[in-house]
């Protein structure tokens, strides 16, 4: 009888342990939601709030992201951006804009001016020409004459400016069509964090296509742990940023949208000067930590275009922290991977270029 009893006790104990483990998961009080908005995945984690309030807050954030998507879609003729672009095509003018467009354009113009054209929000026609805005992936170099013409037009055109009170935008005639879809995602993260905060959510993480903002703390009261994608090893990261409230992390990489032709990688981050994918310094990815996701996003793109040295100087001058991963021998595909970083970034994260597995 004794052996059977021991066995029964052991089996019951195993069962209780298994159930206990599951229970711990549930008690953590985390609510996680994934949805598809703005052409990418919006992942929101909420901790320490009741399930119902978390669900409602996430619903508000999703609706806001959807609204912003429509507002900033250059291919939707009713969008605010389309209105600006029609004005540019039709001889220019002054267009009243709402708060969202004003905020995004203010950041875009600020980064454009401070980076010395490392970033330009009016690249829309070039991005369309390359085919990087469509769902179907681009696969060939566009007609070089057309490319040169558009690039020259862009350089010659007057620049879009925001009125001092941010209520109107001055659109010069022939200004390139705005395409701020990229940084609009950063702005959506900022808005999501603002909304969650105003709804009384204390701990949350918002991840929109790899652009990340947080509130409060993550699991077990630690800082949220955010990995930085390795630019060449899809299932690896370079290291972990302990992200605190007020820090926003954005990454731009040549691995997001690209095609490879004759061994050369053509990616979606275009150099406004040349109209071609930015290739100076063979940058593979840039990660920027800034005080808003909108700025982090625009500065990551600018730093990518400016290259390993210029990009870091730019980020330091803006008081942002950043990491630029590039090929030291200029070979973007198989070259030796190295990095440059702002001094503050390295105290946040030490990059491991061999990559660590993402789990």
């Amino acid at each position: 009888m004794r052996l059977g009893l021991i066995l029964a006790v052991v089996l019951v104990a195993v069962g209780i342990r298994t159930l206990g483990g599951l229970g711990a998961d549930r008690q953590a009080g985390s609510y996680v939601h994934d949805s598809f908005v703005m052409g990418t995945v919006l992942n929101i984690k909420v901790r320490g709030a009741s399930r119902e309030s978390a669900r409602q807050a996430v619903g508000v954030v999703e609706a806001e992201a959807e609204r912003l998507h429509v507002l900033f879609d250059p291919h939707d003729e009713n969008s605010a951006i389309s209105l600006l672009n029609r004005t540019a095509a039709g001889g220019g003018g002054t267009v009243p804009v709402g708060r969202d467009v004003a905020r995004v354009l203010a950041a875009a113009i600020a980064v454009r001016n401070s980076s010395g054209r490392g970033f330009d929000p009016a690249l829309g026609p070039l991005i369309d020409l390359w085919g990087f805005s469509d769902e179907s992936p681009a696969s060939e170099i566009p007609d070089t004459l057309q490319l040169a013409r558009l690039t020259a037009e862009l350089a010659a055109a007057g620049r879009i400016e925001l009125s001092p009170d941010s209520a109107t935008v001055l659109v010069p005639s022939g200004a390139g069509a705005l395409d701020v879809g990229g940084i609009a995602k950063g702005y959506a993260v900022d808005r999501a964090i603002e909304i969650l905060d105003s709804l009384g959510i204390e701990n949350a993480l918002v991840n929109l296509g790899g652009e990340i903002g947080v509130l409060g703390v993550g699991s077990n009261g630690r800082d949220w742990r955010v990995g930085v994608q390795h630019p060449r090893l899809a299932a690896s990261h370079l290291g972990v940023v302990s992200q605190r409230e007020g820090m926003f992390v954005a990454t731009s990489g040549d691995y997001e949208r690209f095609f490879i032709l004759d061994g050369h990688r053509y990616h979606h981050i275009l150099n406004p000067e040349s109209g071609f994918p930015a290739s100076g310094g063979a940058v593979m990815s840039t990660t920027v930590i800034a005080s808003s996701c909108l700025l982090a996003d625009a500065m990551a793109t600018a730093a990518f275009v400016l290259g390993p040295a210029g990009g870091i100087r730019f980020l330091e001058s803006q008081g942002a922290q950043g990491l630029i991963v590039y090929a030291s021998d200029g070979d973007r595909e198989n070259g030796e991977i190295t990095y440059s970083a702002t001094s503050g970034f390295l105290s946040i994260m030490q990059p491991e270029l061999d990559g660590r597995p993402i789990y």
Binding site: A8, K45, L205, N207, G218, E256
Partner: protein, 136 residues
């Protein structure tokens, strides 16, 4: 030398029933718990793993077909209307295809010779060292 009289052992003793009953309750409650968990909505994801590497994590609701190359060759992972299954496995026995369709958190399809594993997982129950997000 004294020989014990041989007796055919009984079909089942009281201990047998206690043991089997305990095991039955344990395993049933495990799955009962899983089902309760799945009632709650939230981040159910599909995790695709080849060897030691997680090659993809995607929301369970997304209809998609993934082609993954495992150790032996390519296998199609099909996700449709919340169901998940494998097709065109290169292995000889096609065990993974025969594992059928999975739905819930915790269910897995394993193609051992091909070293491909597809699993439904609930994100949010973090382990130590798990990342909360990837900036890309």
């Amino acid at each position: 030398m004294a020989r014990a009289e041989f007796q055919l052992p009984p079909l089942a003793t009281a201990t047998d029933w206690v043991m089997l009953g305990a095991v039955f309750l344990c395993s049933l409650s495990f799955y009962g718990f899983r089902m309760l968990e799945d009632r709650a909505e939230g981040g159910l994801v599909t995790v695709v793993q080849v060897g030691d590497e997680r090659v993809a994590v995607l929301p369970a609701r997304k209809d998609t077909v993934l082609v993954v190359s495992g150790k032996l060759g390519e296998v199609r992972i099909v996700q449709q209307a919340g169901e998940l299954w494998l097709e065109d496995a290169p292995c000889r026995l096609k065990i993974c295809e025969r594992m059928g369709h999975i739905h819930r958190s915790g269910e897995v399809i394993v193609c051992a010779p091909n070293k491909v594993m597809v699993r439904r997982e609930r994100v949010g129950g973090e382990r130590e060292g798990t990342l909360d997000a990837i900036s890309r």
